[in-house]
């Protein structure tokens, strides 16, 4: 009888252990219905990441992964509210620029002690990737990519303007040349030279930041905002000269600027690495005006090469422990194992073994933007990253959408960023 009871107890324990561990997952990238579990066939950020998650759900024994409904624009607000309410997702994606804020408060877990057990080898991560997830000596996440602003090029329009040499686009090396090239495209094709989302999401901000970094300047230094200066004015006027001459339209938002590029109405689209596979697929379609697609590194218009970059990473809440933590770590390991699949989006991989693989080198257009990794930059870490980006976006929009005086806008931006740094 005694044996029977012990046996039953053991059986019960085993049974409990065997029931699936449910891991909730929060992410942005947008929704993808029917992503399937084939991580090699999906196209676009949303579908590729969802296919990896679906595959994890199907392949990991004893673990089910549930993707929570979240929305791109309000993602961090939702995540913060979830943490504040004590119900964060077991696994969630975030940007490296948010690490100071989340790790600083003790929200996300230092997982340096969990990596080995989960089968993640941090020595395979590139040096920059490790730096991206490190904070005050700890490792606060599993890096997934580097993403950066690129110049997406319509080669047919460039060729018509005589801006193609050896099968590569000829890109400007100074603001003056930028204006000159833009005029050449306009004269030859009647189309705009450059499109980007200057009107809503901060693509225009990232462009101006890159041009400031190219002059070895930055928007703040320690606790001092440094925006109202010549470097910022040069960066801004490099763009406004195109708007003033009617060679680019500042009023297009993300969807409209992308559509303009795909319709063959702009020779260059400034956008991130995340759309390379999508544009490749679009360019192959008969009905899409863009036929001859090329991806270029962000050109250097000033002294040093620089382009805006950030990193996606996966973190788990510090409150997670026991089996739940182990299960969450297994999901992170699965995502880490599929780094090559994620790189199909166009993002740069973080694992040396992937970076050096033939499969990676063979990804479409990959050889065209190899210089980007070396010029990737971002603003200094700050807990107020989001608010600072918002200030810049507002004041820059004021310049190109409402005709606000450049000096006045930069002075206002500096004052407001200073307020944020002082708070």
């Amino acid at each position: 009888m005694k044996h029977l009871i012990i046996g039953a107890a053991v059986a019960a324990t085993v049974a409990t252990g065997a029931t699936a561990q449910e891991v909730t997952l929060g992410r942005f990238f947008g929704a993808c219905e029917d992503a399937g579990t084939d991580t090699k066939a999906s196209v676009g950020e949303a579908c590729i990441i969802q296919s990896i998650i679906n595959a994890a759900d199907a392949e990991l024994d004893g673990i089910t992964v549930t993707t929570l409904p979240t929305d791109w624009g309000n993602y961090y607000d939702q995540i913060k509210a979830a943490y504040a309410g004590g119900t964060p997702p077991d696994v969630h994606v975030m940007h490296r620029h948010r690490v100071p804020e989340f790790a600083g408060l003790g929200a996300i877990a230092d997982i340096s002690g969990d990596l080995e057990a989960a089968g993640i080898d941090p020595s395979d991560w590139s040096e920059n990737a490790l730096a991206a997830v490190s904070y005050e000596g700890g490792i606060y996440g599993v890096p997934m990519d580097f993403h950066a602003n690129l110049w997406h090029v319509n080669m047919d329009l460039m060729a018509a303007a005589g801006l193609v040499e050896d099968g590569k686009p000829v890109l400007p090396t100074s603001p003056e040349e930028l204006l000159q090239h833009a005029q050449m495209v306009k004269d030859a094709t009647g189309q705009d030279y450059l499109a980007a989302d200057f009107a809503q999401f901060p693509i225009g901000v990232r462009l101006v930041l890159a041009l400031m970094w190219q002059q070895n300047a930055n928007i703040f230094d320690g606790d001092t905002a440094t925006i109202n200066n010549d470097a910022a004015a040069n960066a801004v006027t490099a763009m406004t000269q195109l708007f003033d001459a009617g060679l680019a339209n500042p009023q297009l938002n993300y969807a409209d600027s992308q559509q303009a590029f795909l319709n063959g109405e702009a020779a260059i689209l400034v956008n991130g690495t995340w759309v390379v596979d999508f544009y490749t697929a679009e360019a192959a379609k008969e009905e899409v005006a863009l036929d001859n697609y090329y991806v270029a590194d962000f050109p250097t218009l000033f002294d040093t090469g620089a382009t805006w970059a950030d990193s996606h990473m996966w973190a788990i809440p510090a409150s997670l422990d026991g089996d739940q933590r182990a299960a969450a770590m297994k999901v992170l390991a699965f995502i880490n194992d599929h780094n090559i699949d994620w790189a199909r989006t166009g993002h740069m991989a973080v694992r040396t073994s992937v970076l050096e693989s033939a499969e990676y080198a063979g990804l479409p257009h990959r050889d065209e933007y190899t210089g980007t990794a070396a010029i990737a930059r971002d603003t200094p870490p700050s807990e107020r990253y989001g608010a600072i980006q918002d200030v810049l976006n507002r004041e820059l929009q004021a310049i190109w959408l409402t005709g606000k005086d450049v000096t006045a806008a930069l002075a206002d931006a500096e004052a407001e960023v200073q307020d944020l740094l002082d708070r």
């Binding site: 009107a199 809503q200 959408l401 004052a415």
Partner: protein
């Protein structure tokens, strides 16, 4: 014996009423009174959303500093002509209310309400940063201004449009009931659907409006990113969305008007537009007041349209109060400051509720 029973029953009735009210009172206290008081409590603290969640002691009592940081500034001065247009209207409003009251054209309460509103319009825009001064929060008052502009366009827009549609549909035919349903349909959509529909409508590339403009040879307007049109786009969307409920209220009011009045009016040659002006409108006075006040309170809380269609842009021209509160609380994690703004919004909306109460009582007399 009978008396005793009656007395007993009366007590039971009072108790029964209390018992029946209890679930409501409990819910009301738990979900409205308590959060409201807690909101005021939070607004008196330096309260970081995340930090306090992980460490309840991370908050600091700061008294009214959040209110000062949001609404006040350094070297703020007051001038009678700092904002000539608004203050001029305010001064004229005060004069008008005094005149109307003296002439006996309006009641005492209306005169006081109008006078008070005008006085506020005269006093508030007069504050401005003096030499070397600045607002501590440079976005707060412009945001309040944007919200007022939004309310100022949307409420009359909804009221007039709903009134006209209701008048046109106030007939007992099958076609009219179909139209009534159609006009009400927009109301049941959620803000996400409404804004999605209108973002497509306003799109300079695929949008219906752009196609119509182009068909007439004009160049399409980039509605959502042009500072002259962004607010208009949001107002149009909101009017389309909020028509339904106002229309139903007006229809109900119109059906309450006695047919005899119209028959008597017809004998005096008052039909069509005249009948509308001389019979329908005066009889709808209370409904119109109700619709306006409900709309004012509702539209002050605008959030989804600005958040989803323009993200408050371009250059903050469509940034509205609730969106600013939301950003301050959840993006910037500054719960105390956000609560102070929320209390400010409550005061404004409370003011309009009191106004409705006053006007409604006046009609009873």
């Amino acid at each position: 014996m009978t008396g005793q029973t009656r007395q007993k029953r009366r007590i039971t009735q009072g108790q029964a009423a209390f018992v029946l009210l209890l679930p409501f009172l409990a819910t009301y206290a738990l979900f409205l009174v308590y959060p409201f008081l807690r909101g005021i409590w939070i607004s008196l603290h330096d309260w970081n959303l995340l930090a306090v969640a992980f460490n309840p002691d991370a908050k600091e009592f700061v008294g009214l500093r959040n209110y000062e940081r949001v609404m006040w500034g350094r070297n703020i001065e007051w001038g009678a002509v700092a904002s000539p247009l608004l203050q001029g209207i305010g001064a004229a409003g005060v004069a008008l209310s005094v005149f109307l009251r003296r002439a006996g054209r309006v009641s005492k309460v209306t005169a006081i309400a109008l006078g008070l509103a005008s006085a506020l319009l005269f006093v508030l825009p007069g504050f401005h940063p003096g030499e070397g001064g600045r607002w501590y929060d440079r976005r707060f008052w412009p945001t309040v201004g944007n919200t007022l502009v939004f309310v100022g366009w949307t409420v009359p827009g909804v009221t007039v449009a709903a009134l006209l549609i209701a008048a046109a549909l106030n007939r007992e035919t099958r076609a009219m009931s179909v139209y009534r349903t159609l006009f009400f349909l927009s109301q049941i959509l959620s803000v996400t659907v409404v804004t999605l529909i209108w973002q497509i409508m306003f799109s300079p590339r695929q949008g219906l409006i752009a196609n119509v403009t182009e068909a007439f040879g004009g160049s399409p307007i980039v509605w959502l990113t042009d500072e002259r049109f962004a607010m208009a786009a949001i107002v149009i969307t909101t009017i389309w969305w909020s028509l339904g409920i106002a229309m139903i209220l007006f229809l109900a009011g119109m059906q309450d008007i006695s047919k005899d009045l119209y028959e008597a009016g017809a004998l005096d040659n008052a039909t069509g537009a005249r009948a509308f002006w001389y019979i329908t409108l005066p009889n709808l006075k209370r409904t119109i007041t109700l619709v306006i006040v409900l709309q004012v309170i509702l539209q002050f809380q605008v959030f989804g349209q600005a958040h989803l269609m323009t993200q408050g842009g371009p250059n903050d021209t469509t940034q509205v109060l609730v969106r600013y509160i939301y950003q301050t609380a959840f993006r910037d994690s500054e719960l105390g400051r956000a609560s102070a703004m929320a209390v400010f919004l409550f005061v404004i909306m409370g003011g309009f509720s009191i106004l409705q109460f006053v006007l409604g009582r006046e009609d009873d007399q």
